[in-house]
């Protein structure tokens, strides 16, 4: 398979402009600037590239929603907040090949008519921020960013903005509020950012990985990109694999690749003595897949969806038989209740309430009815909120209890084998 996103990862000093240029970097930008903006958008639309931030929304389609000639500036925001537990693939791009994302961003900005691009980067990312800042400077110094880019007459500034450590600021509209200097609250939609985003102007928010795929698409055309992957999930996708596996890390995978094969051959399967129990395929909010389902599923949006889960961000968390699912769920509930921005009643209260119940359950202080109560809370907070953070806990609650009910019942009875082992 041809590597697109990670092809330079193993080169020495892969993050420098010199290496990037030597491997053909910024040729796509040059090509794009010779096209009409609409043509660029069409190309990306035709490629079928879907957003890699989690929701999988077609990127070219999103760009085409930006209204023309409103008289207002248009903004591109690059979502580099990467807060989803288990997800660390954008970080790899920012550290190892920031120019690919910058080039993709400039092409996207050109396509939507933006003269300003903001990269909202997770505050805890130290090395990635330094690499990104250095790369932006390099891009300016060579005329890839700033005034009159490559003599085309097109101007675009790139600003890097560091977040302050809130998961919710990765949600695109909370990101916009945060960029504006406001509290990181997701906004009610409509209006959608494409119509009224940053500073009330048309805005596109895209994930780092989404944008990093754009130079390839421009270079090889929509058809070239569509050759890779499946019909409905074209291209490649990064997966960040964590858990007790032989080789945790970031992998670029052609869409449609069998998960079983991936885990066995690429990741090297489980560490000695560890038995696979379940896999969270796309970041912590996604429903869990059982070991059996792992055998049957391919790594593309449709196949994973057919098992009731989602590809999400590609943050793959592998759980082994020593992991107690009640404990795992409590851990997640703690995270989501802590990170709920607190505006919507169902999310603010539902995540906190679930966490308290699970905390009791972990400590063997629960009763049978608590399992039903948890399910009910999860179901009732889903689909009723401004952003999908509430669903992000609701989905794991339903799937962990649905698929591993025995463990929850054991906890209620006070005889969870995993917990007793680890005690």
């Amino acid at each position: 398979m041809e590597l697109i996103l990670t092809k330079n990862f193993n080169l020495p000093e892969s993050y420098t402009l010199q290496v990037y240029e030597k491997t053909g970097g910024y040729a796509a930008l040059k090509k794009a600037l010779g096209m009409k903006p609409e043509q660029v958008t069409e190309e990306v639309k035709g490629s079928g590239l879907r957003g890699r931030g989690g929701a999988g929304f077609p990127a070219g389609m999103k760009w085409s929603f930006v209204p023309k000639n409103t008289g207002k500036p248009v903004y591109l925001c690059v979502n580099a907040d990467e807060g989803e537990p288990g997800t660390f693939k954008d970080r790899a791009i920012l550290e190892k090949d920031p120019h690919r994302m910058i080039e993709g961003s400039l092409i996207a900005a050109y396509a939507i008519g933006a003269k300003t691009a903001y990269v909202y980067i997770r505050g805890e990312f130290d090395l990635p921020t330094r690499r990104l800042n250095a790369a932006v400077q390099e891009a300016y110094s060579k005329g890839y960013a700033g005034r009159n880019i490559l003599g085309s007459g097109y101007d675009c500034d790139v600003f890097v903005h560091r977040g302050a450590g809130a998961y919710i600021c990765g949600e695109e509209t909370a990101l916009l509020n945060s960029l504006e200097g406001n509290r990181g609250y997701p906004r009610i939609k409509p209006p959608f950012p494409a119509i009224e985003g940053l500073f009330k102007c048309p805005t596109v928010v895209n994930n780092v990985e989404t944008l990093a795929a754009v130079p390839y698409i421009i270079e090889h055309g929509a058809a070239g990109y569509k050759k890779i992957g499946t019909e409905k999930s074209p291209g490649t996708k990064l997966f960040s694999v964590s858990g007790p596996v032989m080789h945790p890390g970031v992998y670029e995978v052609e869409m449609g690749y069998p998960m079983r094969k991936f885990l066995h051959e690429d990741v090297g399967w489980m560490r000695p003595g560890k038995v696979l129990k379940a896999v969270i395929p796309g970041g912590s909010s996604m429903p869990v897949l059982t070991a059996q389902e792992v055998e049957e599923v391919n790594l593309d949006y449709e196949s994973i969806a057919s098992k009731g889960s989602l590809l999400g961000s590609g943050g793959m968390i592998v759980l082994d038989e020593d992991t107690c699912m009640v404990w795992a769920l409590e851990n997640l509930a703690h995270f989501y209740s802590h990170e709920s921005c607190g505006q919507c009643s169902p999310c603010r209260e539902g995540t906190g309430w679930s966490y308290k119940i699970l905390k009791r359950m972990v400590h063997g202080e629960s009763k049978k009815e608590d399992i039903e109560l948890l399910l009910d809370i999860g179901q009732k907070m889903a689909g009723k909120t401004i952003c999908v953070l509430a669903d992000s806990l609701s989905m794991p609650i339903a799937s962990y209890i649905g698929k591993f009910r025995g463990e929850f019942e054991a906890h209620v009875k006070g005889n969870c084998s995993q917990c007793q082992k680890s005690r």
């Binding site: 009610i188 409509p190 906190g352 907070m381 009723k384």
Partner: protein, 478 residues
């Protein structure tokens, strides 16, 4: 105008209207906490869920605009279940200390709980604990545990008072309302936050713990605090006033009023309300019965020509009071000259919104009746006035020999010592009639309770005087 169907009723509604308002037009009510018609949409409480045909999920009515052909259901099992669950979530960390909560009886949590749920709580965990009595500013107290984080108060400060004073800190169920560092909630309209707070989180420093609201009766009236004349509701019990809250009048005060105006009820309850006529005899003031005082007044004015009397109306009294006063003095006493006095305040508060520098509710009214502004004038022997007269003026007048001062007023203030006759008069809360505000709008005030002791309304005093004078007049003409 788009046609929509709400609960099976097809109606035409203005384009751009949200579904809470549209439902009202269709005769349905959609519960809401964070939505307020005068504030931006926050969409955070999620109680206003409705079902919209062809949309799989329930939608919030406050952030959904009507669209042609939309079919909406504001009732039904799905909607009710949705709202019930939202209410349950809101109550998860709510202290439910209704017995000691000022909001009890007018609380939207209580109201919707009775309408929607009526089930015991399933929440057995320890609730998040927060501060119970936080003074946000001079007029407003916060009970952080009762706050349902609807952000109405924050939006009010930003969007109506144009002061960034309130904000949230922390996240999730630890979110708290607070003032910005180094600031207080002290904009001149701060108590409106108490009114719009749907629960008992914000309470008025002035009103809290004074009365249970179900004991209070109301009178719809007009604030006497300035010439804007905000439409208000006066809440009272057993002859005492307890608070003022704004009434909606788009043309005058929208739905707001200022903090200063809220306190205008205080003088009504004051200890020093005048209860009896006071008459000066042998240089000393003494209480006197109503009829005797009137007779005494008549005697003392015998032989005084109307030209020697100055009638002094008041911009603090109603049009009707001033009119009756003018009528009696002109027709019976033959008075020709009329001026009015007004409450003049040094450096008065004022702004471009509601607060007027003119602290009189009826200046436009008295001027329209023909009263001229008060100027010092020594040609008169008798000064017949609707009080209170400013201390310095009455002192100057009364010290001159052979000058008489007759006052109809409400309070036993030091200045009445200099008056020869003082007749206790109904205060604003006890009076009826109209004020003409600075926009020349004539607005009704309504009495909440009767005036204290022997007090009468100005009009009633004039009838009493009239009765005393008439027979004599008749005798003269006969």
């Amino acid at each position: 105008m788009p046609k929509v169907t709400i609960d099976g009723k097809e109606i035409e509604v203005p384009a751009g209207m949200n579904l809470i308002e549209a439902a009202k037009l269709a005769g349905a009510s959609v519960p809401h906490y964070c939505y307020h018609p005068k504030l931006s949409i926050a969409g955070n409480c999620r109680i206003c869920l409705v079902e919209i045909e062809k949309q799989p999920k329930l939608q919030i009515a406050c952030n959904t605009k009507v669209a042609e052909g939309m079919v909406v259901r504001t009732t039904g099992p799905k909607v009710e279940e949705g709202r019930q669950s939202v209410l349950e979530f809101i109550l998860v960390n709510h202290p439910i200390d209704c017995p000691v909560c000022d909001q009890a009886g007018e609380c939207k949590l209580q109201q919707y709980y009775m309408q929607l749920d009526r089930k015991p709580s399933r929440m057995e965990e320890e609730k998040v604990q927060k501060d119970k009595a936080v003074k946000l500013g001079p007029n407003v107290m916060l009970d952080m545990e009762r706050c349902i984080l609807c952000s109405r108060c924050i939006r009010f400060c930003q969007e109506v008072a144009h002061q960034d004073e309130l904000c949230f800190t922390q996240r999730g169920d630890h979110t708290e309302l607070t003032t910005y560092p180094g600031r207080e909630l002290k904009n001149p309209y701060s108590v409106n936050t108490v009114d719009i707070c749907p629960v008992g989180a914000l309470t008025s420093v002035d009103f809290r713990f004074k009365q249970r609201v179900w004991f209070l009766k109301t009178a719809d009236t007009v604030c006497p605090g300035c010439s804007t004349g905000c439409n208000v509701r006066l809440w009272h019990n057993k002859g005492a006033a307890y608070r003022l809250t704004p009434r909606e009048n788009e043309a005058v005060n929208q739905v707001w009023m200022c903090d200063e105006g809220r306190l205008t009820y205080k003088p009504v309850n004051a200890e020093n309300r005048l209860r009896h006529p006071v008459v000066k005899r042998d240089g000393r003031n003494g209480k006197m019965r109503r009829d005797l005082a009137v007779a005494e007044l008549k005697r003392s004015l015998e032989g005084v020509s109307g030209n020697a009397i100055l009638g002094i109306g008041s911009a603090q009294f109603t049009n009707e009071a001033n009119q009756a006063f003018l009528g009696f003095l002109k027709d019976i006493l033959g008075v020709k000259d009329f001026v009015y006095h007004a409450n003049e305040v040094a450096n008065p508060s004022h702004d471009v919104f509601l607060i007027s520098a003119d602290k009189n509710p009826n200046r436009a009214g008295v001027e329209a009746l023909g009263f001229k502004p008060l100027a010092e004038d020594r040609r008169y022997q008798v000064f017949f006035a609707l009080g209170p007269l400013p201390f310095s003026k009455i002192q100057k007048i009364a010290f001159e020999k052979n000058r008489k001062v007759i006052l109809l007023t409400t309070h036993e203030v030091p200045e009445i010592e200099y008056a020869d006759f003082v007749f206790p008069t109904a205060a604003w809360a006890e009076d009826e009639g109209t004020y003409t505000n600075r926009q020349n709008r004539v607005q009704n005030i309504a009495p909440a309770f009767p005036p204290p002791g022997e007090s009468l309304r100005v009009g009633q005093w004039m009838e009493e005087f009239d009765k005393a004078w008439r027979p004599a007049l008749k005798g003269m003409t006969a």
